[in-house]
C-alpha cells in the first residue's frame, strides 16, 4: 500500500473523527459521540491493516470506505447547512457499507446472487429516502434522531413535516426491519452451508453480524413502540456489535498470516515427530481438524494413506486437494477443507515445512503397502497349498484308492473261484495273504491322505474332522469344538494345528489324556490343546510346530506354547475369524 495514501487516509480519518465529535456533542452526550467516532476509526484502522497486509484483497479498501462513511455520517449533526444536507442524504450509506463488508467477507466481493441483491437494495434505500426527506424538510418539524435540533436543508422544496416523518419511518421499516432481517437470514445461511473449517473462521463475524442485524430490527420496532428501557442500553449494544464487526473481519483476514507464523512452529514440531504425528501437526497448523495426508507410491503410481491403502482422490467438492511435489516428483497430497483454497500459499508453505517428515511418512506408507502386499501373498500361498493338498487327496481317492479296492475285489473273486474247484491250499494261502497285504497298503494310503487333507474336513467341517481324528488317537481326548462351518482356510489351519499338536503329545508328552477346546472369541478362533504330560516342551521355533506357526501368522494369528516342566503342555492358537 502506498505510504502517502495511507498517510492521507489517516489524516482524513483523524480530521473527520474530530469534526464528527465536535458536530455530535450538540445532539448526543459525550460518551455516545466518542463511541461513534471510535466505531468509524475501528473500521478505518482495520481496513488500513487489511489493505496493507493483503493488498490484493478488496476487503481492506471496502472497510476503509466504511470507516470514512461512518465518520462522515455524524457530521450531519453540525450547524453547517451544507454539511447537514450532504451528510444527511449520504450518511446512512455507512450502515449499508457495514452490511456490504460483512457479506463481502472474505474475498471482498459479494458473489452470491441473493446477497448482492440485498446489498443493492440496501444502497438504494439509504440513498432514496433521505434524499426525498431532505426535499420536504423545512426545519419546523423534528427529524428522527435529531431530538429538538433544527437544521437547514439546502434542497428543501416545501416544508411538509408529515411527509418527512412518513419517509423516515418507511426507511426505518425497509432498512432496519426488512433488509436487516434478510441480512441475518443470509449470514445464518452462509454459516450453515460453510465447511467445518470455514465455520470456525466465520463464527465471530456471524455473531457480530447477527447482533448488528438484531440491533437494527429493535431500532425499527422502537420507531413505532415506546422504548421500554433506557435508550442508552440499546446504544451500547449497537456500539459493541458495530465495533466487533471490523475486528472480526480483520482477524479473519489475517488468520492466514497468523497461520503462516504457525508454519515456523510446524518446522520445529516436526523435527522429532513420528510420521504418524504428521497429520495432526498439519491439521493444527492449517486449522482443519478433518485434514488428511496421502502419499504418492511411485511403484504403484497411486496415492495411499499412511497404512499403504490406495486412496481415490476424486474431487467431489466437499474436500479440496493440494498436491505437493519434490524435485518434479509427486510426493504427497493434502486433502483439506475447500476454504483453504483461498490460502494456497499457506498450504504450500506448510507442505514445504513438512517435506522431510512427508518423505519419511511416504517411505513408511510405501513400506506399509509392501507389507500389506506380502501379507496378502502369504495368505494366498496358504490357500494355494490347501488347494494343492485337496487336489492330491482327490486324485489319490479317485485313482489309487479306487484301483486298490477293485484289485481287492478281484482277488476275492479269484479266492471264491478256487474254492469251488478244490484248489491248491498253497495258492489259497497266497491269495489270502495278498488280500491282507492289499488291505494294509490301502490303510497306509488312507493314513497318508488324511495327513495331506482329510476329506471329512471340507465335507463336514472341523468338529466332525476332529471327532474322526480323536477316534484314531492312542489315548482319550476330550473334545469341545464349536459346531458350524468356518472359512476353509481357518478350518484347515485349526485342524492342522490340532492334529500336529496331538501328534506332539503322543510323541513327547507321555500324557494319559488330552483335551482340545475350540471356540470363537472376539472375532478370533481360539484353539487350545492341553495335556497332563511331562511338559518342558521345546520352544516353538525348534519344534515341528514352527511351520504351523508360519501358517497361523500368515492368517494374522498367533501360536504359543506353554510347557512348564512337570505341568503338562498347552498349545494355543488364535486365528482371526470374521463372523
Amino acid at each position: 500500500m502506498n505510504r502517502l495514501l495511507a498517510f492521507v487516509l489517516v489524516i482524513a480519518g483523524a480530521a473527520l473523527g474530530a469534526g464528527a465529535y465536535h458536530a455530535q456533542i450538540n445532539a448526543l452526550n459525550r460518551p455516545h459521540a466518542a463511541a461513534q467516532v471510535a466505531v468509524g476509526w475501528a473500521y478505518l484502522v482495520a481496513g488500513l491493516v487489511a489493505w496493507d497486509r493483503r493488498p490484493a484483497n478488496r476487503m481492506g479498501r471496502l472497510m476503509v470506505l466504511t470507516g470514512l462513511a461512518l465518520l462522515a455520517r455524524q457530521l450531519r449533526y453540525g450547524d453547517n447547512a451544507f454539511l447537514f444536507t450532504v451528510c444527511f442524504i449520504l450518511g446512512d450509506v455507512g450502515y449499508a457499507l457495514v452490511g456490504h463488508s460483512a457479506l463481502a467477507y472474505p474475498s471482498g466481493r459479494v458473489k452470491d446472487r441473493a446477497e448482492r441483491a440485498l446489498v443493492i437494495a440496501g444502497y438504494m434505500t439509504v440513498l432514496a429516502f433521505p434524499l426525498l426527506a431532505a426535499l420536504f424538510y423545512g426545519g419546523t418539524s423534528p427529524l428522527l434522531y435529531f431530538g429538538r435540533l433544527s437544521r437547514n436543508s439546502l434542497i428543501n422544496v416545501t416544508d411538509d413535516g408529515h411527509a418527512v416523518e412518513l419517509l423516515q419511518k418507511t426507511e426505518e421499516v425497509v432498512f432496519f426491519g426488512i433488509l436487516a432481517s434478510l441480512f441475518i437470514l443470509l449470514v445464518v445461511r452462509r454459516f450453515w452451508l460453510a465447511t467445518p473449517r470455514m465455520r470456525r473462521i466465520l463464527a465471530p463475524l456471524a455473531l457480530a453480524a447477527v447482533a448488528f442485524g438484531l440491533r437494527a430490527i429493535t431500532e425499527c420496532v422502537f420507531t413505532f413502540v415506546d422504548r421500554p428501557f433506557a435508550a442508552d442500553y440499546l446504544f451500547w449494544w449497537q456500539f459493541v456489535a458495530v465495533f466487533a464487526l471490523p475486528i472480526a473481519l480483520v482477524a479473519g483476514l489475517l488468520r492466514a498470516r497468523l497461520a503462516r507464523a504457525g508454519v515456523g512452529e510446524l518446522v520445529v514440531e516436526l523435527e522429532h515427530a513420528q510420521p504418524r504425528e504428521l497429520r495432526g501437526a498439519l491439521a493444527r497448523t492449517l486449522g482443519d481438524p478433518a485434514l488428511e495426508v496421502v502419499f504418492w507410491l511411485p511403484e504403484r503410481e497411486t496415492y495411499a494413506d499412511a497404512g499403504g491403502n490406495p486412496v481415490d482422490l476424486a474431487d467431489d467438492g466437499a474436500r479440496a486437494v493440494t498436491y505437493l511435489d519434490h524435485e518434479g516428483e509427486p510426493l504427497a497430497a493434502i486433502v483439506h477443507d475447500p476454504s483453504l483454497l483461498e490460502e494456497p500459499k499457506l498450504v504450500r508453505a506448510a507442505g514445504a515445512a513438512a517435506r522431510l517428515a512427508l518423505e519419511n511418512a511416504q517411505l513408511q506408507a510405501e513400506t506399509s503397502a509392501q507389507l500389506a502386499e506380502v501379507k496378502e501373498s502369504r495368505v494366498r500361498i496358504v490357500a494355494a497349498a490347501d488347494r494343492e493338498r485337496k487336489r492330491i487327496e482327490r486324485d489319490l481317492h479317485d485313482g489309487a484308492q479306487q484301483r486298490l479296492a477293485a484289485l481287492a475285489l478281484q482277488l476275492r473273486i479269484a479266492q471264491r473261484r478256487l474254492d469251488s474247484q478244490h484248489a491248491d491250499p498253497a495258492v489259497e494261502a497266497l491269495l489270502e495273504s495278498a488280500v491282507l497285504e492289499l488291505q494294509a497298503a490301502n490303510e497306509e494310503l488312507r493314513e497318508l491322505v488324511r495327513g495331506v487333507y482329510p476329506a471329512i474336513l471340507c465335507e463336514e467341517g472341523l468338529a466332525a474332522a476332529l471327532e474322526s481324528l480323536a477316534l484314531r488317537n492312542p489315548f482319550p481326548i476330550e473334545l469341545d469344538v464349536l459346531e458350524g462351518r468356518l472359512p476353509p482356510r481357518v478350518e484347515a489351519t485349526a485342524y492342522f494345528v490340532t492334529s500336529e499338536g496331538l501328534a506332539n503329545v503322543t510323541k513327547h508328552a507321555q500324557a494319559s489324556k488330552a483335551s482340545v477346546c475350540i471356540a470363537r472369541l472376539n472375532g478370533l478362533l481360539a484353539v487350545e490343546i492341553s495335556d497332563d504330560g511331562v511338559g518342558g516342551a521345546e520352544r516353538l521355533e525348534n519344534s515341528g510346530l514352527s511351520g504351523l506357526a508360519d501358517r497361523v501368522e500368515a492368517l494374522g494369528g498367533t501360536l504359543q506354547v506353554e510347557s512348564p516342566a512337570g505341568h503338562g503342555t498347552r498349545l494355543v492358537a488364535e486365528i482371526p475369524c470374521e463372523s
Binding site: 481317492h397 484308492q401 479306487q402 486298490l404 479296492a405 477293485a406 481287492a408 475285489l409 478281484q410 476275492r412 473273486i413 471264491r416 473261484r417 469251488s420 492289499l438 488291505q439 490301502n442 488312507r446 488324511r450 482329510p454 476329506a455 471329512i456 465335507e459 463336514e460 466332525a464 474332522a465 471327532e467 474322526s468 477316534l471 484314531r472
Partner: protein, 150 residues
Amino acid sequence: MKKLSGLSRTQPARAFRVHLVVKVLRLCDILWMAVTVVIVDDHPSFRSSARTLLELEGFEIVGEAEDGASALEVAAALEPELVLLDVALPDTNGFEVAARLAGGPSKVILTSSREQRDLGRRVRSSGALGFVSKDRLTGQALTALLEKVP
C-alpha cells in the same frame, strides 16, 4: 371276431403264467435264502466285480444303477432286500439316497473306498444299516451287517 375273442382269452392266461413263474422264483429265493441286491455305483467295473463276487457268495443281483436318481427308480421297481450304495455318486451322494430309501422295503449298506471314520457322522445319520469299505467288501461282511439287525 373269433380270432379276437381267442386272443382275449389267451392274454390273461399268459400274464397269469408269468405271474406264477415270478411267484415260484420268489418262493425258490426264499427257500434258497438268496438275498436280492441292487448295486449302485458310477464305476461299471466296480459294479461288475461286485456282482461276480456276491453272486459267487450266493446273493442274487437283481439290478444295478449308476447314479442316485436311477437308484431310487430301480429300488422302487424291484424292491430288493438290500441296496449296496456307493457314497460318491455323480448326481448326489449316497447319504441322501440312503435317507430317501430309509423306511422302505430295502435295507441300505453304504460303501466307499474310504473308511467309515473318514466319512464322519453322516453314515449313521443317513439311516443306512451299515458301512463296508470297498476293499473289505465280501458276502460275509454284508451278511454280518444284515444279521446284526434285530
